[in-house]
Amino acid sequence: MGGNTPPTPLGTSRLHPGPPTGITWLAMADTAQTPLSTGSFYRSRIASLLAIAPLGVWTVVHLWDNLSAFDGPQAWERAVTGARHPFNQILLAVLVLLPVYHLVVASFTTKDGFSLANYAQLFRVRRFQEAMLNSLLLGIASSVFGMLIGTLLAWLVSRTNMPFRRVVRVCVLASFAVPAFVNALSWVLLAGPNAGSLNQLWMGLTGSREGFINIFSMQGLIIVSVATVYPLAFIFMHNAFETMDTEMERAARLLGANGVRAFFSITLPLARPAIIAGFIMTFLEALALYGAPAAIGVPARVYVVTTQVWSLFEYPPQVGMAAALSLPLALVTVALLCLQRMLIGRRGFANIRGKGGRWQRADLGAWKWVAASVAGLIVFITFVLPNAVLVFRSFYRESYRGMALANFTFAHYQYVLFDYIDGLRSIRHSLVTSLAAATLAALLALIAAFLSRRKMVRFSGLLVFLCMLPLAIPSMVFAVGLVAAYSSGWMVLYGTLWIMMLAYLIKNLPYAFMSCNAALASVHVDLESAARVLGASTLRTVRDITAPLIRNGLLSGWIVVFANSLRDLSASVLLYTSATTVISTAIMDVYYASAWGAVAALSVILLGINAIAIMTGYRMFGRNVLSPNA
């Protein structure tokens, strides 16, 4: 299948890894680095400490602020504009060092000891510079187009009488459940040169000999990236529009502004905090993407920072170089979050604090059908079409005699489940690690949330911080740190399922914690006092009242961690070895081997497990969900 076959990336394929597997590489890398004088050892550590301290603070604080968008618009607005105690920030500054410690140390370490050689290399090698420029371009393009689409859809859904608003909203939110790299693979199926379904359709219709779109290009990468990040923009803008009081717009209308003018002079400026947050979060999301650049960029020889970091883990691994290359990712993250704080400042956008719901939808008249068509088309192209083609392909046998009923088959599923050596095994690995990560994360989060919220320990803020810390580090950067930390020394986890589980657990702990914490926060203290006054002891109150009330929060946290772990690629791809393949890495392996049926079947299985988990979660939020006044 000529056009759909991606060139083998970087000469080596993970499907047929060379003799030295991960653990041996790392052992070799480690011995290469050991001869260090004590002086330079400490110097390098102090230097890295000073370099990262202030940055870490900002990153954690701001990411934490922005994540409260998931608790609803008011919570987000409060978090972003609220004041903070300086003591907390100092505390955070000290603590944020620990997990990135190894990363920074590694980036300043060469076999000659403390050195800036890795960074010098960044500026010498063209490949790295290109990668950084490409990442920047990808980030900017994705955030601009993502915001345009996200804002348009959010406005149509929350502010107008467009028909099928709910359907559009559900589809946009459902795109979140589709892992970014699966989305990228679907797009290869759709728009691969020559063999992509869209191109074949085009050729069939026009008689042209070439397709009209080539996904293996920077443009292709941008399209897929936009499709991946725009739901995030949608959430931010939707929140902003939902809380805004239309009385304000109407006040402008009464003063003589027409609808368009009122939108641009009142509505958009009021949404400014959301717009800034939306731009920055989509930019960061695009910057941290690994799956799409690996699936689309690498074959097209368009490299970004994340794919370069990965390539540095190919034999011979250059952990120090990888660390040096991934730190700028963290720096950009920090810089952007600083910028956001500066732009929004302390100015309370008090007007946004509106009660929500006190507004009227704009009547689009006959245009509403045009709006519905546009929104429908966007959702169709970004969500329905890619997933449909994936499901279709998983049941379809490629044939030169065109479409025929006989070509539908379960063969691909049979192959990945029974014949492909990594098929069933990777599914088992994914399930085991994700289940373990979710359960442990939920338990840890529950304990931490309880202790901190009920102020049962001193320095409870520290607990909160520890739980939220992993948010500050992009998945892949975090994985580099994990490799540096656990590939030598007293505990070697590299090359085992433990390190995968650990990565999922730590990376997703913040989500579990937020979920538990929010659930606990919604348990009004009166609910507990009521039991106490009636004669229940503290422990009895926890058992009878508090625990049942936060059950849903706990379960939903569990499900989020499980689903996130299952779909993770960017951390897994650096941590797995041939013995510890998980679904996502298995999918990438069969993709690089151009086994499209297997790619589609495995992806559908992944989506299926994910969908079942998420749907089960929705089911549980049934009848005794907290009533509003409780």
């Binding site: 009004h524 006092s529 009521a530 006054v533 009636l534 004669g535 009848r623 409780a630």
Partner: protein
């Protein structure tokens, strides 16, 4: 024996010098409803939490049924005080049915199955929710949740029932209706209660004993009628209902009355209560409070009245049963309520008069 005694209770928060409760003493008798009334921040909710055991006093003591439950720096936990409490937020447990909510307190007291079922049903019938036992709180209205909270509090037969602004989340009509219902229920059960509110109308309806708080101290206490008719200070007079508050200087103090010089109006005499007299000195500032309904309007100077002033009628406002007139005498603006049948029109020159005992001399605060 008193159901509750607060003796000189003091409460500070943190290391702030200013105490939130500054020496508070009062009692609740068997079957009595005490209403704690005051503006927000006056310490009424803190007082309730001290009684409930959620907070402990820094000084003074609290006695329930003659037994000391809290003293300086210590207190029994809430679960050992045998209280019932209705919260502003209702605090009805959303994961339990109406029946389970009410039954919980009895379960804690290990009441046998049969008796428990009977008592819960009685309590639910009492608040007219007999049919809704199987429902979850999310499936009933706010007013009904409020009744569940009430039933849950009384079913355990507490020594004392605490109500923390229980009606403030209801809409105006329902609040009005529940107010009376609550009063009748409390009477029927003969439960000693403390009711916290900032709504003076609610306080008037419910109180056997009204305690008006301000800035952490009791400003005045007594029956609702006594406090309304004979306020001690300008603050109380304004806080309870509408009043004409005239600020002036004391020129003469008699056995039951005092004479005041009101700037720009002249002198007038009004009733002087004993506990106000002790704070009065000739020549010092004081106020007179006269309720709008106590004032009489006439076209010519009345002969009998102790106090009469000429004024200009500014406005006539129809209030239904009553008519409110706004009149001006010099700097003084009067609010006068009279039966709707009287007819004066704005611009008329009229006389405003009242008997000496209709007005009260109050402290200037």
């Amino acid at each position: 024996m008193m159901k509750l005694e607060l003796i000189n209770v003091v409460k500070r928060f943190g290391d702030r010098a200013e105490a939130v409760i500054r020496g508070l003493s009062t009692t609740v008798a068997e079957g009595q409803m005490l209403v704690l009334l005051g503006p927000s921040g006056c310490g009424k909710t803190t007082t309730l939490q001290l009684v409930a055991g959620m907070l402990h006093p820094d000084d003074g003591s609290i006695l329930v049924d003659g037994k000391t439950v809290a003293g300086p720096g210590w207190g029994l936990p809430p679960e050992r005080r045998n209280l019932g409490m209705v919260f502003q937020s209702y605090a009805v447990w959303p994961h339990k049915t109406v029946f389970e909510n009410v039954a919980y307190g009895l379960e804690l007291r290990a009441v046998p199955r049969e008796e428990l079922r009977r008592r819960v049903q009685e309590a639910l019938d009492l608040v007219q929710l007999g049919e809704l036992g199987a429902r979850y709180p999310s499936e009933i209205s706010g007013g009904q949740q409020q009744r569940v909270a009430f039933a849950r509090a009384i079913v355990v037969k507490p020594s004392l029932l605490l109500l923390d602004e229980p009606l403030s989340n209801l809409d105006a009509t329902l609040r009005e209706q529940m107010r009376v219902e609550l009063k009748l229920l409390q009477r029927k059960l003969g439960l000693a209660s403390i009711y916290v509110t900032h709504d003076q109308a609610e306080a008037m309806v419910l109180a056997d004993h009204l305690v008006v708080m301000r800035g952490g101290i009791i400003e005045q206490q007594g029956s609702a009628e006594a406090v309304f008719r004979r306020p001690r200070s300008g603050f109380i007079a304004r806080f309870l209902g509408i009043t004409n508050l005239l600020r002036g200087r004391v020129i003469d103090i008699g056995p039951n009355t005092a004479r005041l010089e009101i700037g720009g109006l002249g002198t007038l005499s009004a009733f002087l209560a004993d506990d106000v007299r002790t704070h009065m000195t000739r020549g010092e500032a004081a106020c007179v409070s006269i309720r709008p309904l106590e004032l009489t309007l006439s076209a010519s100077r009345p002969t009998a009245a102790a106090n009469a002033f000429q004024g200009q009628l500014m406005e006539r406002i129809f209030l239904g049963d009553l008519t409110e007139y706004l009149a001006q005498s010099g700097q003084i603006r009067w609010r006068i309520h009279v039966a709707s049948s009287t007819r004066f029109v704005p611009g008329d020159t009229i006389w405003i008069s009242f008997a000496a005992e209709a007005g009260s001399v109050v402290l200037d605060s």
